[in-house]
Structure formats: C-alpha cells, structure tokens
C-alpha cells in the first residue's frame, strides 16, 4: 500500500509541476464545453433566398412578401436575370433561388395556371430537402388564399381542395433546447479525451525517456505500478467531471433529475475503463507519437460514432453493430438518461454491466501486457 502511495505522489507531483499541462487538462475542456455546446444546432431556419422577378406584378410582389414573412427565409437579394441566381448559388451567398417568369400574373388569370422555378443548392441534402418543403408549403398556402379570394369575387361556387392538416407537438423538450441534449454529451467526450490521452502517454513517456528502467529494477509489482499510475489520473478525471457538471448546472441550467451518486458510480467505472484503454495503448507502443496516433485513431471513431452528432439509428446496420463496442456511446446514454430522464440503477444496469466488463478486460490486458523485462 505504501508503495502505491509513493508512486501516486510521484505522479501527482509530475503533473502539478508541469505548468504547461495543467491548463490543458483543466481549463481547455471547460472552455470548450462552454463554447462548443452552443454550436450543435441543426434546426434549419433563416434560409437565404434570392428572388428573381421577371414579372414585377402585384402577385409576384405578394408572393415574395408571403415567403419572407413566413420566417423560414431571409431575402439575400433580388435580381432580374436567371444568370444572377446561378452566380449567387455558386459563391454561396444564397441557398435558394426563386425565378418568377414574365407573365406570371397574366398566365395565372388567363390560363388558370402558371409556374415558378425553385433552384436549391443541394450540397447539404437535408437542408435542401427542407428548403424545398418550406417553399412549397408557403406557395401552396398562398395559392389557396388567392384562389378563395378570386372565387368569392367572381361568385363562382368555391372549389373544394382537400387538405390534410398536420399539427406538431414536441414532447419532453417542447422548446427544442438542444443544449440539454448536447452538454452532457460534450462533457463525456472531453473527459474521455483527457483520460485516454494522458493515460496513453504516461507509461510510454517513461519508456522513451528511459526512466522506466529505474522503476523496473525496483521491487514494485506490476499491478502496483499500474495502480499507482492510474489512480492520480482517475482522480483528475473525476475532478474534471465535477467541474463539467457544475458548468452544466450553473451555466446551462441542465437539470440533474436522477441520483448524482449513480452518475458518479458510473463515471468512476467508466474512467477506470478509459484509463485502462490508454494504459494498454501505452504498453503496446514504443514512442509517444505512436501512442498518440493510436489513441487518436480510436477516439475519432468513437466520437463520431457515439450518436452525439448524428443519430445511431441513421447508420447502416453494420455500423450500428460497431457502435455496440463503443464505450462513449454507453456513457452518453447513461448521462442523458440519469440527468434528463431521472433513470434509476435498474434502467442503466445494462450499460453498467457492459462498461464494467470492458473495464476489467482492458485493465487485465494492460497489466498482462506490461513487461518489466524487455
């Protein structure tokens, strides 16, 4: 026990004495949590609309006002020539171009029908699909309005279009506040990154600098060595988690509906797993560069496939299966369930079992892989 305590003290001193690394460990993640949580907004509004009116009639004017008034679009400019629209789309100053052809109003009344053109920048497919839908909706509504007016003026019997009217409700989060959703997720990412990177570099650094020899010749046992290395990092990870929770609560007013003890229990086990992963990488590599690249490789995959940025359900089946071995996915699920839905231990028991098994397996592997003799 005393041996481990000495090792821990050494590790702590090494971290605290390194003035460059302390702010990276504590400040950078918190700043990122504060800033980045505002970034993840998918809601599409204020689409930029470029208006090309070759008719310049009362009707086309009304339609424009209707579109701008709908709140979905911002007018980015107006032109007369279809070529203008192309240029605007190309340099990205607009998302949508609407072309109202000449005789728009005349055709509508004389021929009973006319057509307008909508050109969408479709590089972002989702946004393009929505833009198209919003425009058709507004045009459709306006169409119905003028039709009714026209008929009542002529006194003809009103035509009877059939309309299916959808109404929407958003449950559990009616204001569609995405920060409630993102903050816990980003917090998980940050402590995972810090934990994995620091642990991955730790042992390999001693290897590279040669100081590992000094430890190898002492009677310190393998498990003592790993434990002495991991405990300080584990404590740092949990302090980090605490800071993050405080920010989430105070700055973003994220509720913590479930038991905070449960949250820490899971975070504790999870940190053991993350650190074990870093340690395993550390024992398998020779230089810090290698260790970093491997840690980075897995973390980018874990982060982008965690379901935080793009939903797991959207992925193809084989990719969804891969996410089953993604620890970040489980922690994000747990943090959200406990914080936002007030889940109890039995609700998260599945995730708990997976992560515990992971932690035992990975740390076992790390202790086994660490050799005192080269």
């Amino acid at each position: 026990m005393r041996t481990i305590a000495f090792l821990m003290r050494k590790e702590f001193l090494q971290i605290i004495r390194n003035k460059a690394i302390l702010p990276v460990i504590f400040l950078m993640p918190i700043i990122q949590l504060l800033i980045l949580s505002f970034a993840a907004d998918f809601e599409i509004r204020n689409l930029k609309l470029y208006w090309i009116d070759q008719d310049k009639s009362t009707s086309s004017d009304l339609l424009r006002q209707k579109l701008v008034g709908s709140g979905y679009f911002v007018l980015s400019g107006m032109g007369n020539n279809a070529m203008d629209g192309d240029a605007q789309l190309e340099d990205g100053t607009t998302d949508l171009v609407i072309v109202i052809p000449a005789h728009f109003e005349r055709d509508l009344i004389r021929e009973n029908s006319n057509s307008a053109q909508l050109i969408v920048n479709a590089i972002d497919g989702t946004k393009a699909g929505l833009g198209n839908y919003y425009v058709s909706q507004v045009v459709g509504e306006w169409n119905q309005e003028i039709r009714e007016k026209f008929e009542s003026r002529l006194g003809t019997s009103p035509s009877r279009p059939q309309i299916v009217q959808p109404t929407y409700s958003f449950w559990f989060n009616p204001a569609l506040n995405y920060k409630t959703f993102m903050v816990p997720g980003i917090l998980v990412l940050l402590i995972t990154m810090i934990g994995a990177f620091i642990a991955a570099m730790n042992v390999v650094r001693e290897k590279e600098l040669g100081t590992i020899e000094q430890i190898n010749v002492t009677p310190i046992k393998k498990y003592q060595f790993i434990l002495g290395k991991l405990t300080p990092l584990w404590i740092i990870g949990l302090i980090e988690f605490t800071l993050g929770l405080i920010v989430a609560k105070l700055v973003f007013s994220i509720p913590i509906l479930g038991s905070i003890f449960l949250l820490y229990l899971f975070a504790g086990v999870y940190m053991v797993m993350v650190l074990g992963m870093g340690m395993l990488i550390s024992t398998m590599t020779d230089t810090q560069q290698q260790a970093m690249f491997i840690a980075w490789f897995f973390l980018v995959i874990f982060i982008l496939m965690s379901g935080l940025f793009t939903p797991i359900e959207n992925m193809p089946d084989w990719a969804q299966k891969i996410t089953l071995v993604n620890p970040i996915r489980y922690f994000i699920e747990v943090v959200r369930m406990v914080m936002l839905k007030g889940a109890t231990f039995s609700d998260i028991s599945h995730q708990m079992i997976v992560i515990s098994a992971y932690a035992v397996a990975i740390n076992g592997l790390a202790v086994w892989r660490y050799k005192k003799v080269n």
Partner: protein, 368 residues
C-alpha cells in the same frame, strides 16, 4: 543545399523506420473515410415510429402506407388509445407517433380538412425536428396528389431543381469535411511532436550546433510531412471519387493547389505549437485537445455555421478548416474556379503566413 537534402533524408529515415506510425498514418485515413462515408449521415433511415389510427378508414390507410413505404420510417408499434402514447416514448424505442383523428376520410371529403397530429420525442431536438419535417413533407405531397385531378383554378406549379447534388446524398456533404479534419489533425500533430521530441530527447542541441540555419531546420522537418500528408489527401480524394462517387467538377489542379495550402497550414501551426512547448506530452495535448473538437464542431463539417449564435460564428472565422471546406466543396461539387473561391484561398494563405512568421520569431536557437 546538399546539407539540407541530408537533413530531409534524416527526417525520412526517422519516419520510415517507425513502421507502426507509418501504418497508422496511411491506414487511418482509409479506415476512417470508409467508416464515416457510410456511417455518418443526417439522412433519416428506418426511424422507429408508432401510429395511432383512430379512424381506420380509406384515406388514413393510404397515407399510412405512403409514410411507411419510404425508407425513412419503420412501424414499431401500432397504438390503440391515447393512453399508450406516454409509455411508447418512455422506453426510447419510438421516436415519433402519428395520430389520425377519428373520421379522417369523412372530414377530408366533406369538410375539406382532416387533421393528423405528429408527436415527436424531442429529447434529441435535432432528430425530432428532421423527422417531423419529413412526415410533414409526405403529408404535403399527399395533399397535392389528392387535388391534382380536381382541376383547381389558379394553379401555381413549382418546378424544383436540386443543384450540385440532385440525389441529396449526404456523403457529398461530409467528404470535404473529413478531408479537412484528417489533414488538420494529422499534420499539426506530426510536426508539433517531431520538434518537441528533439527537444525532449536532447538531440535539438545537436541540430542547433550544426551549421544549418534555423529556418532550414524547420523546413527540413516540414518537407517529409508535407509529402506524407499530401499522399494522405490523395488517398482520401481517390476513395471519395471511386468509392463514394463524389464528383470533381472543377479543376483538379486548383483542388490540389488548395489542398497543398491547407496541408502547409496545420504543419506551420504544428511548428508554432512545438516552439512554445518543452515536452511531447504538452505538444500533443495542445494539438489534439485544442484542435479536435473545435475543428469538428466549428468548421461547418456537421453543424451549419449560420445557425450558431453570433460569438460562435465569429470564432468560426479563425478555424482554418472552415475556409478549406467551403473552397473544396465549391471546387468539387460546383466546379468553381479561383475567381469564386479567391477569398477562402487568400484567408488560408494569410493564416499560413501568420503561423510561419510567428514561429520563426519564436524559434529559439539557444536552449536555456
């Protein structure tokens, strides 16, 4: 010049003898682009929905079939009463429930309006929003179809053209972003560590005592990584083109030129980082922690920049990847020339120059 060549060769030996790093350097982009090209998508596919049909009549059946016939939705539960709504959401399997009012067909035919209610689980607001809009669009289509044969007076038709990506594939959107993220992180990491390493192992002393000038030392460090990163970029580009069929509409030369500028940029940033740190550990933490999430989140790679609050939009201007992504998308998908993207290119060159100037000034030729 001969001396310089010898230095470059030394760096190449360093890199090529480290088989594992080399394997990762080339294996990583391939693995990641394959994985993400297929897996990262905002397209809705097979979302589990529930349906509560209180009408069970002709029109409700047709609309239901129409909704379920798409790839977007999968019927997970047929509900029978409103009391089941809450429970169907709680276990997290149902993302959305569509409720048809009683006498749906009758209302539609007699009164002209029938109602459906769309209820979404908004714990994930982004997905909820997208799903709701998809159902809305299908319903809207159905309404249009219903009235097509009626010969309504004063009909306005809207012809829609989807420019640049007619099939609305999300891989078009993500490939340029992936190139940016991979290049940004790999290049910055590689250079920052390689100089910090010489410092930490003490070999920097040897380099500084040599007749090489500081800028030559730095340049010799950068050249091999420039070549490696460029190969990486080419691999990604080829995979994008031949595996994901992302077109390259514009000039290949221009695309490669822009890529070279963008590769040099994080390399220079890496040098800058390495001049201010003493250990590899700090160099890596700064280049990884400092660059990873900001590049993913603020570059417009996944989340649209115009949606962000003003301060974040301002910050996104200093994320070099942001400009690169815009330029690459324009060249690859829109076929734009330098005339359209000169601003992005100029900004990237500005960053590059800034990083180089600062790191040359910060580079110390004496160790303490």
């Amino acid at each position: 010049m001969k001396r310089f060549r010898a230095f470059v060769i030394k760096e190449f030996y360093h890199i090529s003898r480290d088989r594992r790093t080399l394997l990762i350097l080339f294996g990583m982009p391939i693995a990641q682009i394959m994985l993400f090209g297929f897996a990262i998508t905002t397209e809705i596919r097979n979302a589990n929905i529930g349906i509560l049909d209180l009408a069970h009549d002709e029109h409700s059946q047709i609309l239901k079939d129409k909704i379920l016939a798409t790839d977007y939705f999968l019927l997970s539960k047929e509900l029978h009463s409103e009391s089941q709504l809450e429970a169907s959401f709680r276990d997290g399997t149902t993302k959305l429930v569509i409720v048809f009012e009683p006498k749906f067909s009758q209302n539609l035919e007699r009164n002209g309006t029938a109602n459906i209610q769309i209820i979404a689980d908004a714990t994930d607001p982004n997905t909820a929003n997208t799903l709701v809009n998809y159902v809305g669009a299908i319903t809207f289509d159905y309404t249009k179809q219903l009235n097509k044969d009626q010969n309504l007076p004063l009909q306005i038709d809207l012809e829609t053209r989807m420019r640049y990506n007619p099939e609305l594939k999300s891989v078009y959107y993500f490939v340029p972003g992936l190139i940016a993220i991979l290049l940004m992180l790999v290049s910055a990491m590689m250079t920052s560590i390689s100089i910090a390493r010489e410092k930490e192992l003490g070999t920097m002393e040897v380099l500084l005592a040599s007749p090489m000038r500081p800028y030559q030392i730095i340049l010799a460090k950068v050249v091999p990584y420039l070549i490696l990163s460029f190969l990486d970029a080419m691999i990604i580009l080829l995979l994008g083109k031949y595996v994901f069929h992302v077109p390259i509409m514009g000039s290949l030369g221009l695309l490669i030129g822009v890529m070279l500028i963008f590769i040099a940029l994080p390399l220079a940033l890496g040098i800058l980082i390495s001049t201010v740190v003493e250990t590899q550990q700090t160099a890596l933490l700064i280049s990884l922690m400092g660059l990873m999430l900001p590049t993913i989140l603020l570059s417009g790679f996944i989340f649209p920049i115009e949606n962000m609050p003003l301060p974040l939009r301002a910050i996104s201007h200093i994320i070099p990847a942001r400009w690169f992504i815009v330029a690459v998308k324009s060249i690859m998908l829109k076929g734009s020339g330098l005339l359209v993207i000169w601003k992005e290119v100029a900004i990237m060159c500005g960053f590059l120059l800034f990083f180089i100037v600062v790191s040359v000034r910060k580079f110390k030729i004496r160790l303490e």
